[in-house]
Amino acid sequence: MLKVLWLQAFLCLMGSLCAQSTRKLNIVKNKFVDSSQAALLKEDMVYDLPIISVNEGERSEGNIPFVPSILSAGRDVFMSTASFHFGVVRFKIRGYDGNVFSTQINGMPMDNLDDDNTQWSLWSGLNDVTKNTEMILGIKPGEHLFGDIGNAVSMDMRASKQREQTQFSYAFSNRSFSHRWMYTTAKGFNKKGWAYSLSGSWRSAGEGYFPGTNYYGGSYFVALDKRLNDGHLVSMIFLGSATANAKQGPVLKESVALASALYNPYWGYQSGKKRSANIGRSHQPVLIITDDHRINNNSYWISTIGCTMGEKSNTALDWYKAADPRPDYYRYLPSYQTDSVLRLFVVDEMHHHESLRQINWDHLYTVNKNSREALFDADGVSGNTITGLRSHYILEERVVGMTRVSINTNFHTRLNEELSFSGGANWQLQQSHYFKRMNDLLGGDYFVDWNQFAERDFPNDVAVIQNDLNNPNRIVKAGDIYGYDYLVNTNKGAAWAQITGSRKKIDFFAAFEMVYTSYERYGKMKNGLFRFNSFGRSTLNEFNTYAMKAGITYKINGRKYLYLQAAAFSKPPLFDDVFISPRTRDTRQDIIQTEKVKTAEAGYVCNAPRIKLRCSAYITSFKDGMNVTTFYHDGYGNFVNYALSGINKLHYGTEFGMEYKVSNHILFTTAASIGRYYYNNRQMVAVSADNDASVLEKTIIFSQNFRIPGTPQEAYGVGISYQSAGSFYLNVSGNYFRQQWLAINPLRRTYNAVENVVAGTEQWDRIIHQQLLPEQYTVDLSAGNSFRLKLYHGKQKQTLVFNLSINNLLNKQDVISGGYEQLRFDTDTKNIDKFPPKYFYAMGLNFSASFSLRF
């Protein structure tokens, strides 16, 4: 019955979506709403785009829903045109979060079990060996994996699957890196059945596009294949990417007005040199061993065992009994001055003195060098007094150490002329170690492992102020763990089966998956405030979830197809969305439930020689989602957690992609994605603080019909490519984006927020309305050529390839690629401008020029 309804809804949509979308919007506009969506404020990480942390205090990896590269877009005309056109902004396919996309390498799942996001950073820089990629669109069936509702990317990095050649390339760019050198070589099977491939790259920038963002990254890749006689191909790959990059911070419009759209609050001068406080580091090498057993012409069996181990960290300034060192702290900005004369005075001063807009490192050192203080009973030893320079400003490093072991097996066989069977099972164990490490004492001698927020609240209690009661008054030196220290132990097992069939007029598939997930927190510190529920093992959280999907394709003829498919998933909540404040204790959300996802999609595909086209419509609903967002609230003077529950979302829309061959040399491409992504219910939020067991606030969020942020909901692109008879090509494209919304602060859509405000007044509207970001357009260009020539004597000719790509050719500097309302709201004054939104600005004109030599 439900399915029928879905189908109906779907068919209606198909017919009327374009016409309806504007009307629908108007209806919604008249309702006031509220919402959540601190959830999307996660770190984004895209190849070659700057890595940006949005969520204050956020630790999770990130969210790259978009296709990794144009090459993996495969043969789908929408994906290839969309990835080419929409790569400029943070376009998310169908508005989905990164955790509904999945990726595997040589059969090994590569999603981080803590947040379900693909860890692109694991192999960043290895562009040469990640080209052998298959993309399974949405819920379409894949031979190697069950997938999720988003696209599934399956990479084959085995040595024997790499193109047999040696390539050296160099790229010059003004994006996150300036220089990139890559070297890759691959050698096919020799007589003894061995094949190998090697790749390495080095990327660097003294300063990327944004000021104070340097970048250093080295990547390596080793692959070895051995073909055995009995149909086995055994492969080993080992890869890693070590990067350190200074980040670009989100900015206030006020700061941009004082400086420029290039403003980056994360750096400052130290002894005349630019230094960044927010440096991301990552190195998590991966080892994968695969056995590919071709049983016969109809069947194969691939088994993989893999391991990922390494560390990822972010640095940030922290301070103890001292003024906030961040230059864009709201109390330092002109808008904090209520007196207009003073405000102008501050504007003038900040505008003319860059040092006031950036971190003043020399000052931080001076403060630390003047802070000779004694600590009594140091390291918990009675009578042990330490005297020295106690750092008041420090550089902390939030570290996630990760170890994941995966075993995966996957079987595929053709049952008969019509039917094929695929199935698989996998088991993954992941231990993530979250802790804070002292990166730099900034000229001081020591720091003490105290909870300064507790120290303020309980000034005379020497026990509750301890971050770790097992090691009271611990002296912290550079490199020491302090603050918080806990493990997340996750187990995940899954098994799936799939039947695909192909008849004369009809293709069909059906698949089913069962997943067991469990996780727990294991605290390694006994927090003074939560001495009974911070140390040791938490309750084990266990979930059994399922997923099923089915679809049918009607083949009108060999070129035209109609398809219809649907899926239902249940998904366990993520650790981070269940544990409210894992840094201090093992408290969980009150109600823990799985998220239910349903999706349906129908489309028309045409693959004619001159025209390739796909048009499809989809509808997806998410029900009972959960989310925990953490940020520093200086009103509470504490890290505050918003635990959201009952998040329902509805996404629907159409996708259209077309390539039209105007002539043999000219190709016209266009793509459009028109969607509407809503929170379609009222969520619940429970606000609590890291240092306080009680719930500070628990309330309904009037979030119905608020828009899901983080992506333009409408994107359009048009492009023309010229391909000469030789190998020269030129591409020019124009893109247009609209309906991108600011991520909202849930607390502004509560009863409390508008209490005593007259409904319908401007103030009321300003508090609850969600901000629509400006429409954007960009023009991009790419061109390239290649030559075959003989650079030196020998049998072979070499190929020299040149490529140039320029994005944002018009150098528009005011392109906002995303943003969020700050999670603070002053409920006393109800002035939303006290904590105004923060934005990310896209790069102005940016380019990459490369040449490669292949032989």
């Binding site: 001292a322 003024a323 109390r331 904090y336 005075f345 501050v346 001063e349 006031l356």
Partner: protein, 447 residues
């Protein structure tokens, strides 16, 4: 040749030694002292320009210089520092926290006044960057915004010595506003002793009253956010170092930390009391040797201990030498040590009865060097002078006799009080000194 090489090696070793001895020091940059800006105005001259209730915009290139005498390190001063030169002091309002990292007590500071405003908050003169008229009835001086600190405040050397001016409480007047002053012979009013400086739970400021022995009082005002707000005020008498401030006509003293309050002496008057020890033997079993935790019941000679007795439902300690047949009976009853560090004007009191008095003696002693062991006679004891019952020859005295208030104020630290009985019960009829003594309601109080 040989001698040459011998000489050579000698020189060489001297050189090596010298070079080891004379390790060159690493170069270090000079401490930041700021530009050498010289003051051209004294703080008292600046203050003299102010008319109470007005806001004065300073448009001349005046520079004042002084030393920071109070900062926000203990959070009693909030968003302000106090600076003083030889002529007077002034409060500077700064719109930041953690100011003491840059402007700690002892920091020499020059202020470029041009562009700043001077005003008063309930007659307390302040410097700031503007006038906040958001409440039109009560305009206030607006603090200097953080980005403007370095424009007006020039940091100079650190750790300059500050000597507070010692005055009498009746000398407090407006010219001492924002000055660090010291007043001797002060004590907290009885009702304000032993209570927190402010309400640390609700973070509310509070006033406590200090009085001088010679008369006159002032408020100590403490913020509820002060890190020492929960510490209790002392009971003694002594000196107070504080910043003088006013609120309308109230004279307020603000301390920077509890170390500014040195009140360990005796109070002017004995008002208020604090019980340091009390024992009425109610919880002891009658007709046994007295054993109370912490007490010592020691026989020096004669084998007679203090005992617990009961009469009319009242327990007490008792001793006599009767029927011991000993030439000397000496016994000690020693109270647990009493710590006098946290109180003043301590007094000892107890009650006694005597019976069948024939010359036995009960004496009371105090000692600060008794080791708590079983040989109290080896310690140095000072005889105290209580009133002790005597002369009841034919029976037990009918009424308890109060000892009177015996001052222990001359002692400090940990002190022992001992009752020492000295009697005799020789076989011969003369020189029997077997007097019975009963002791009850032993108390030590202080304030």
């Amino acid at each position: 040749m040989k001698s040459l090489s011998g000489k050579g090696s000698l020189y060489l070793s001297i050189l090596v030694l010298m070079s080891i001895q004379c390790n060159k020091k690493f170069d270090t940059p000079p401490e930041y002292n700021g530009p050498d800006l010289q003051p051209n105005l004294s703080i008292s001259a600046l203050r003299a320009m102010h008319f109470m209730g007005n806001f004065d915009h300073i448009v001349n290139d005046y520079i004042i210089e002084g030393i920071v005498v109070a900062d926000d390190s203990k959070d009693n001063f909030y968003k302000s520092i106090i600076m003083q030169d030889s002529t007077g002091g002034i409060t500077i309002r700064l719109d930041g926290t953690g100011l003491y990292n840059d402007y700690p007590v002892g920091r020499k500071l020059a202020i470029k006044l041009n562009g700043l405003w001077m005003g008063d908050y309930a007659r307390m003169i302040q410097l700031g960057a503007g006038v906040d008229r958001s409440d039109s009835l009560f305009p206030q001086i607006a603090p200097i915004p953080v980005p403007l600190f370095d424009r007006f405040l020039i940091k100079k050397s650190l750790q300059n010595a500050i000597v507070p001016k010692t005055i009498r409480i009746d000398q407090l007047n407006d010219s001492l506003q924002s000055c660090l002053i010291k007043i001797d012979n002060l004590e907290f009013a009885v009702a304000d002793t032993g209570k927190p400086y402010a309400d640390v739970i609700n973070k509310l400021s509070d006033n406590t009253i200090v009085k001088a022995c010679s008369g006159g009082s002032a408020y100590i005002r403490t913020s509820g956010f002060a890190r020492f707000a929960g510490i209790k005020t002392p009971r003694g008498n002594g000196s107070l170092t504080a910043i003088y401030s006013v609120f309308k006509t109230d004279k307020q003293l603000m301390i920077r930390d509890t170390s500014d309050v040195q009140m360990n002496g005796l109070r002017c008057t004995g008002a208020g009391s604090k019980l340091l020890l009390a024992e009425d033997f109610t919880n002891q079993s009658p007709n046994t040797n007295l054993t109370i935790t912490g007490w010592k019941n020691i026989v020096e000679t004669g084998g007679k201990s203090f005992q617990v007795k009961s009469s009319s439902n009242n327990n007490y300690a008792e001793i006599n030498a009767f029927a011991t047949n000993q030439l000397t009976v000496v016994s000690w009853l020693i109270l647990p040590p009493v710590n006098l560090s946290n109180s003043a004007n301590e007094i000892l009191s107890f009650q006694t009865k005597d019976g069948f008095d024939n010359g036995g003696v009960l004496q009371v002693f105090a000692s600060t060097n008794y080791d708590g062991g079983n040989t109290p006679w080896k310690a140095k004891w000072t005889l105290l002078k209580p009133i002790i019952s005597k002369g009841s020859v034919t029976g037990i005295a009918s009424d308890w006799l109060a000892s009177g208030n015996i001052s222990l104020a001359g002692y400090s630290g940990s002190v022992y009080i001992a009752f020492r009985y000295d009697g005799a019960d020789p076989v011969l009829a003369f020189d029997k000194r077997t007097t019975t003594f009963q002791i009850d309601n032993v108390r030590i109080e202080g304030n």
